[in-house]
């Protein structure tokens, strides 16, 4: 009797596993079949700031379709547009965006919002960088050869950082003190925290960053540190499958008073991260 039961159980569990497999296969394949969505290519720093978690539910309610954000480095985000894998570009590197437009991959660029960069560093500030002048701060850091963690990953943040160094007359920064991590903002901050180094970061990532160790904000408020975001529809003439109506609706919402307000309403610890600045 016990034998029969054992055999029945083993047959049932095999059948059960097979059923689970098949169900999972079907679920996984149909799960994403809804056509009512657009794909937005954006950056890791924007994703990590938590903006999309706050913004997208409101947008979905207003527009009636899903907005799927793939967050990668700016370089890869624009590359996605060139390949036609995204419907909308939402990045923060004006030079690269205008090149994208010039190449014919985008339709029109709208300035939507800005956030700012800050320089963080060890709270005892060995290089004396503290203040509101980013160029002066970088000069002092280089002079002291204080450890500096950089992203070095073709991102918008990285491009901005390299521009500031250039303004400071140090192009490119070289030496053991300057460490390029080749990774996103979070991992770079992890490295900076571990090394007690300076780093340039967007305020948003910093505010959400939990692993600060001894780092604090040292340089902020310099106008040069403002980081402009632009949004573009990927050109349907180049990629016919781009969802141009929904994509444009999303852009229109972002620049509308409702969208601009939603952007401003996003706070971390009571602090506003993104400042809407669309001007028609």
């Amino acid at each position: 009797m016990e034998r029969h039961l054992a055999r029945l159980l083993s047959r049932m569990s095999i059948a059960g596993f097979a059923a689970a497999f098949i169900a999972a296969t079907l679920l996984a394949s149909t799960g994403a079949q809804a056509e009512d969505f657009i794909t937005v290519a954006s950056t890791t720093s924007t994703e990590q700031s938590g903006l999309f978690k706050h913004l997208l539910p409101e947008a979905k309610k207003a527009l009636g379709f899903e907005i799927r954000v793939v967050a990668v480095g700016t370089g890869q985000a624009l590359d996605m547009g060139r390949r036609g894998d995204a419907d909308v570009e939402f990045v923060h590197d004006k030079v690269a965006e205008e090149k994208f437009l010039a190449e014919g991959f985008g339709v029109k660029r709208y300035e939507v919002m800005y956030n700012d960069f800050v320089i963080v560093g060890p709270k005892d500030d060995p290089a004396g960088a503290k203040g509101n002048d980013v160029v002066a701060a970088l000069k002092k850091i280089a002079a002291m050869e204080a450890p500096f963690a950089s992203r070095g990953d073709k991102s918008g943040t990285d491009a901005a950082e390299k521009r500031y160094w250039k303004m400071a007359g140090i192009e490119p920064p070289k030496g053991g003190w300057y460490r390029e991590t080749g990774s996103g903002m979070g991992p770079t901050l992890n490295t900076a925290a571990g090394m007690n180094a300076y780093a340039l970061t967007d305020r948003g990532t910093w505010l959400s960053f939990r692993n600060r160790a001894d780092l604090v904000i040292l340089v902020e408020g310099d106008v040069k540190l403002f980081n402009q975001y632009g949004v573009m529809l990927v050109n349907p003439a180049r990629h016919p499958q781009v969802k141009k109506e929904m994509g444009q609706k999303f852009i229109d919402w972002l620049i509308s008073p409702a969208g601009q307000q939603a952007i401003a309403a996003y706070r971390i610890d009571g602090e506003q991260l993104f400042f809407p600045n669309y001007k028609p």
Binding site: A6, I14, F17, A20, F21, I22, A24, T25, L27, A28, S29, G31, A32, T39, T44, E47, Q48, F52, K53, L56, R68, V69, V70, A71, V72, R82, R83, G84, D85, S183, G184, M185, G186, P187, L189, N190, A193, T205, S208, F209, R210, N211, R212, H239, Q241
Partner: protein
């Protein structure tokens, strides 16, 4: 130490609280990993067994290549699948990029060599034992494949579990072809990667503990099965 304690507490709270987003991520992870294990095994188990019993000119080269594929770098697979599924690529019009289906494809490609190589090894050992008797009974090597698959079912089930574990642990390729889209293609591993890079280590560790628990449970299951089979022939 504080981080680890904090993470365990956080994990317990997330699980006990039935956090909706957490469970959605877990369920999606299980779905894609089960699906890819299913496809990888449906192809890999018979394929590995067939190669084990087969006798054809290039056999040794095939076995060497199969074992070499075990070391296939997963990000390379991710890149290749991405290029294939991208709109600019040959299969772009299917619109699968950045969907769970893309993840299943990438994971299947990674798990398949594991399943095939392991099943080949087990089947070859068994074939050495069975071959004379089966041949004597009139069983051709090809006909022996389903016989071996059933006879080795308990051992091969541990191969299935290993394949599932391999799929469930994958992060690089899943990130590339899935895009880690919140609510759509965000699985446990890519979530952990994201939270870690945000510096939100307690949450990442919490997710990691859940993932580890799943893997441990599977291994315990595999062990129990082996014990049961040893006792019951």
């Amino acid at each position: 130490m504080h981080d680890i304690l904090a993470s365990i507490t956080l994990a317990a709270r997330l699980i006990a609280g039935g956090d909706a987003e957490l469970w959605r991520i877990v369920v999606l992870s299980l779905e894609v990993s089960l699906a890819s294990a299913f496809f990888a095994c449906a192809i890999g188990l018979p394929l590995g067994t067939l190669i084990a019993v087969g006798d054809f000119p290039a056999r040794r080269a095939v076995v060497v290549m199969m074992n070499a594929l075990l070391g296939l770098p997963s990000v390379v697979v991710g890149l290749v699948v991405y290029l294939l599924l991208s709109r600019a690529g040959p299969l772009g019009s299917m619109g699968i990029l950045f969907t769970p289906t893309a993840i299943v494809i990438a994971q299947t490609l990674l798990v398949l060599p594991v399943v095939a190589a392991l099943s080949r090894q087990f089947a070859e050992d068994a074939w050495g034992e069975y071959r004379e008797q089966l041949t004597s009974l009139g069983v051709s090597p090809a006909r022996a494949v389903p016989t071996l698959l059933w006879d080795l079912r308990l051992t091969l089930f541990t191969v299935v579990l290993a394949g599932f574990g391999r799929g469930a642990s994958e992060v690089g390729a899943v990130m590339i072809v899935g895009g880690n889209i919140d609510g759509v293609t965000r699985v446990m591993t890519t979530s952990i990667a994201l939270e870690t890079s945000k510096g939100d280590l307690p949450l990442a560790l919490g997710l990691g503990i859940i993932l580890l628990t799943i893997v441990l449970v599977l291994n315990a299951l595999a062990f129990a099965i082996r014990e049961w089979s040893a006792r019951h022939g």
